[in-house]
Symmetry: C2
Subunit: 206 residues, 2 copies
């Protein structure tokens, strides 16, 4: 099938198809399948999806402190949760990475969601990632450990390095998440850079 809307397609369907094709991970065929699925379900399917989409920009905002998403006007469920460990702060690239870390259950501290990575070429500066306010926040919250959980890419490493440089207070531990062979995987399938990180990041066994 050609990668354009079928010729007999009414304009509103073609426009909707184009919007669906912009979604992350959705190509032409998936967008067509989604559209025909909605058509088969009827008008209500279009309307309820549209309403749930429109509600997001109206009812969701970033917490001004940790920059994670919260219901507009409501207390942040992370920053305001008294049961969380306020001495540890984890720096992540995105709300999506925050969710992945929450799902492990290994971390019960606070977060700083960058919403991107430093990139001079893309014009992303420290203040775009809320990093101008981070030192004051660490001091106010009396944070004693900052975990750098940005990805092991060039931009992720540069961002981690920049965040580390902001933290000068004595007694604040700065750590980086571990990189190496994925659990359940085989050394055979790892590239040499990953294996190299696994070796430099080795830990005492006993």
């Amino acid at each position: 099938m050609a990668d354009t809307a079928p010729k007999s397609f009414p304009a509103p369907l073609a426009r909707c198809l184009g919007e669906l094709e912009k979604l992350q991970g959705i190509g032409h065929k998936s967008a067509l399948r989604i559209l025909y699925g909605l058509l088969a379900r009827g008008p209500e399917a279009f309307n309820s999806l549209a309403e749930s989409l429109q509600a997001v920009p109206l009812l969701v905002e970033r917490c001004p402190e940790c920059r994670a998403f919260r219901e507009a006007g409501q207390p942040c469920p992370l920053c305001q949760d008294e049961r969380r460990d306020r001495s540890a702060l984890c720096v992540v690239e995105s709300a999506s990475d925050l969710s992945l870390i929450e799902a492990t259950g290994e971390f019960r501290g606070l977060y700083h969601v960058l919403g991107g990575l430093l990139s001079p070429s893309k014009g992303v500066r420290p203040e775009d990632l809320g990093l101008d306010e981070l030192p004051a926040r660490l001091k106010a919250r009396a944070v004693t450990e900052v975990i750098l959980a940005t990805p092991p890419t060039a931009e992720g490493e540069a961002t981690a390095s920049y965040v580390a440089s902001l933290i000068s207070a004595p007694g604040v531990r700065v750590s980086r998440i571990g990189f190496g062979i994925p659990v359940g995987s085989d050394l055979q399938y790892s590239d040499s850079q990953t294996l190299s990180r696994a070796l430099t990041g080795r830990r005492d066994y006993r």
Copy 2:
């Protein structure tokens, strides 16, 4: 990751995630990826997708004759196209199947889009598929060939058989699309029912 919205998710995001998960072929992880992709693109991404979705039930309708989708109030681009062959009519399950047939360029006649398949157990009756009006339409259009292009499933075959039974006029050819080994495939990969259809559907080679 658990197959529910992350715990710290604001309710409007969780609702939107739930709607995205209802889409054809979209599971929990794809829905999350789509949602985070939209969040990264900002409010405009949510609104333009929502608007294009809401336009569909308002601006698209089924042609009362062929039952394909057309712009509301506009002439049907298939039924009203004078260049199409009005003596041939192809019966398809869905608008999606119609698009696939159009994309081959092999058929330039008219269509009847069933919008489903006969199924007593699901309560789908002939009149739900526009089949009560089909004989009059064939007569009015002086159709001389009806191609049954429903899928080779139990319901598809039952529907094809029912449509064939409606066509009693002498001089109207009723044909069924061919089933057999997919082009470029190998007999090794075909199941025995497909191979059986390929044998019974054999054609003279010279």
